[in-house]
């Protein structure tokens, strides 16, 4: 098992290297190249020349790439041309915001999606099954930004139950040891802060979580239907086990295998959705940060952001593979 994890970790290296080459080439392919990327569009010709020698852009390309990777490994993602801050410092602010949102959304999707899919499968072809199939089909077809706008309109604007923008009320100051606001508020025992942060989190999380919810429900349904037809489920029933035991121990555990995989594959989609959801709710996370960067041609931020997203996706895929292997003895014991 350990060897398996290590091997999968090693497999990450070429992928991340590939992404870094892609990003390296990306910036060099941009009109103006890295000098503009660093200085911004309105740079004077002298400053461009100066920075090009400074950056060693007159050196061979592999030397340049080598330097780029060395900086990356040392955690130097460059400097934002807009804020003049190291990209890594900004990332430390933005990343927790996005992860908090994505995590809450996924939790929402899993907690509702799995039971829903299970019930639908148990009532195969019944009303609940057809209804949930249809609703999840609509869910999959719903652009996350449209849903976000609708939720915002109904619950924030019309009903006024929940705030429309941000992670926390602007008048409230909470301490930020981690920048995961919910965690921060809990750690500092600021209970009012917890409530406030939760209130801000609810709508974006539901907006972002609804599509994954639909997908999780569909996959769970399909997986449970498959497993219900398995011989070993019949064996379990033939033993006289209670239906709840059969469902939990024999059906759900096996059905979870494909579900875990699919949940993991949602990460990319979830991050995409996060970018869009953040736009609607002015959520100060990676998404709005990167879109801003694109608007201002802040390439160091774009590069760093995409690299980080790629890392995130790769790590979740790794986590999925590991949990799949853990859940499936055939793989667990063979490596």
């Amino acid at each position: 098992m350990l060897r398996f994890v290590v091997r999968r970790l090693l497999q990450l290296i070429p992928i991340l290297l590939g992404v870094s080459i892609l990003l390296f080439a990306f910036v060099r392919a941009l009109p103006g190249g890295p000098a503009i990327a660093l200085l911004g569009e309105r740079a004077t010709e002298e400053s461009v020349e100066r920075i090009e020698t400074e950056l060693g852009l007159d050196q061979p390309i592999y030397v340049q790439y080598g330097r780029y990777v060395r900086n990356l490994v040392q955690g130097d993602l460059g400097t934002s041309t807009r804020s003049r801050q190291p990209v890594l410092e900004e990332l430390k602010q933005k990343f927790p915001a996005t992860v908090e949102l994505a995590f809450a959304a996924m939790l929402f999707a899993i907690i509702l999606g799995i039971p829903l899919g299970f019930l639908a499968a148990k009532r195969y072809l019944g009303f609940l099954d057809n209804a949930s199939l249809f609703v999840s089909l609509i869910g999959i077809s719903f652009p996350v930004f449209f849903l976000a706008l609708l939720l915002k309109y109904v619950f924030a604007i019309k009903l006024g139950w929940l705030p429309t923008v941000g992670r926390v009320d602007v008048t409230r100051s909470i301490e930020h040891p981690t920048n995961f606001y919910l965690l921060d508020a809990v750690l500092t025992r600021d209970w009012e802060g917890v409530v406030d942060v939760l209130k801000h989190l609810v709508l974006p999380a539901i907006a972002l979580g609804t599509i994954p919810l639909a997908i999780v429900a569909r996959i769970t349904r399909a997986a449970v239907l498959d497993v219900l037809n398995e011989d070993y489920v019949r064996t379990a029933r033939a033993k006289g086990l209670d239906p709840s035991v059969v469902d939990r121990r024999h059906v759900m555990r096996n059905a979870m295998l494909p579900v875990v995989t699919v949940i993991g594959l949602q990460t990319g989609l979830l991050l995409t959705g996060a970018v869009l959801t953040e736009t609607v709710f002015a959520w100060p996370g990676m998404g709005s940060w990167m879109l801003e960067a694109i608007r201002f041609r802040d390439y160091a931020v774009i590069q760093g952001g995409i690299l980080f997203f790629a890392l995130l996706v790769s790590l979740t895929n790794l986590a999925v593979d590991v949990s799949y292997a853990y859940l499936n003895p055939k793989i667990r014991l063979s490596r």
Partner: protein, 336 residues
């Protein structure tokens, strides 16, 4: 004679399907006495598995509730509440399935799967159940039982898995064991071992056995009585010996003719019965075998032949049974 242990009357099972209702089992009746071994033989698709699943109340969800009655211990199993029926399943009546490769849960240890009925029905604690599981594995001929409890099904061969299935089935000392084609999925050499094991356990435990198979060679060695099934009904029933010596239903006779004989001298024929079994979309109104039968008479095409006793304990559902003189000499009984 004593009261039968199990008494099945007019059992009928139908399935919903997109093309209409499938009549899988059409009113079969039989008795099973304590300690007796009964064979049910028939081609694939004739309703053997469905019969056994119906008796245990674990029909697939596409099935309508079974009709008829299955009397056991003074109660009709088909009318029991779910919860009462669960007390019977695995405890009084246990079942072994055809495919040991798929009948065990791939992600639970053998130990877990073995102990779960012990803990459920005999209320054993974890430790006792574990010890019992070790001795069960021992009894079905799996060595290193203690270590094997921690193994997963994929680490076992097919034969070993079937042994585990058997251990699971007998774990609560059931009064009846239903074995649905327990050897069909196994290699020939393993088949014999598994049958031997079953025979031994059944006699040691004084269990009644219903052995389901499409292979007459299997019942010949094991069963006291044999019921031959065709298209959801019994066409011939009787003591195995007399059925093999004097098969009177053309279908049985055909089956016996098509049994490949291990001891066959080169010239022995293998006569397949022409045609195939059709899925029944309606309840039969004539002899279901008639279209494939060279003995069929007009009546066979008009009416369903009832089971009639033609010799003591030997019943045939046929309007024109095979005359004894037509039978090949020295039938399979030799194989015993």
């Amino acid at each position: 004679m004593s009261e039968p242990l199990l008494s099945v009357t007019d059992l009928e099972v139908r399935f919903k399907s997109r093309r209409g209702t499938i009549h899988a089992v059409n009113g079969i009746s039989f008795d099973l006495r304590a300690g007796e071994t009964l064979g049910i033989v028939g081609e694939s698709g004739c309703g053997k598995s469905v019969t056994s699943l119906a008796m245990l109340g674990i029909l697939p969800r596409q099935a309508y509730p079974a009709d008829g009655s299955v009397m056991f211990g003074g109660r009709d199993l088909l009318r029991l509440k779910d919860q009462e029926m669960r007390e019977v399943r695995g405890k009084d009546i246990a079942m072994i399935f055809q495919d040991p490769m798929t009948s065990l849960n791939p992600i639970l240890t053998i130990g877990r799967q073995l102990t779960e009925s012990l803990r459920r029905h005999l209320k054993m604690d974890k430790e006792t159940a574990r010890e019992e599981a070790v001795s069960l594995l021992d009894r079905v001929g799996i060595s290193d039982a203690g270590d094997r409890l921690r193994s997963y099904p994929h680490q076992f061969s097919g034969g070993m898995r079937q042994r585990v299935m058997i251990a699971m089935a007998i774990s609560c000392r059931p009064k009846i064991l239903i074995a649905d084609e327990p050897t069909t999925a196994l290699d020939v050499t393993i088949q014999a071992q598994i049958l031997e094991l079953l025979k031994r356990l059944v006699s040691e435990e004084q269990m009644a056995l219903i052995l389901i198979t499409h292979d007459l060679g299997v019942v010949a060695g094991v069963c006291d009585r044999t019921n031959v099934m065709y298209a959801g009904g019994f066409v011939e029933t009787g003591a195995t010996e007399s059925l093999f010596a004097t098969p009177r239903h053309p279908y049985t006779a055909g089956l016996l003719d098509s049994v490949p004989r291990l001891d066959a001298s080169g010239k022995q024929r293998l006569v397949p019965i022409p045609g195939t079994v059709k899925t029944l979309m309606e309840k039969p109104t004539s002899c279901a075998f008639a279209p494939r039968c060279m003995y069929a008479v007009d009546e066979s095409r008009r009416e369903v032949p009832p089971l009639r006793e033609i010799a003591p304990g030997h019943h045939v559902a046929c309007f024109n049974p095979v005359p004894e003189s037509d039978l090949p000499q020295g039938a399979i009984t030799e194989a015993r």
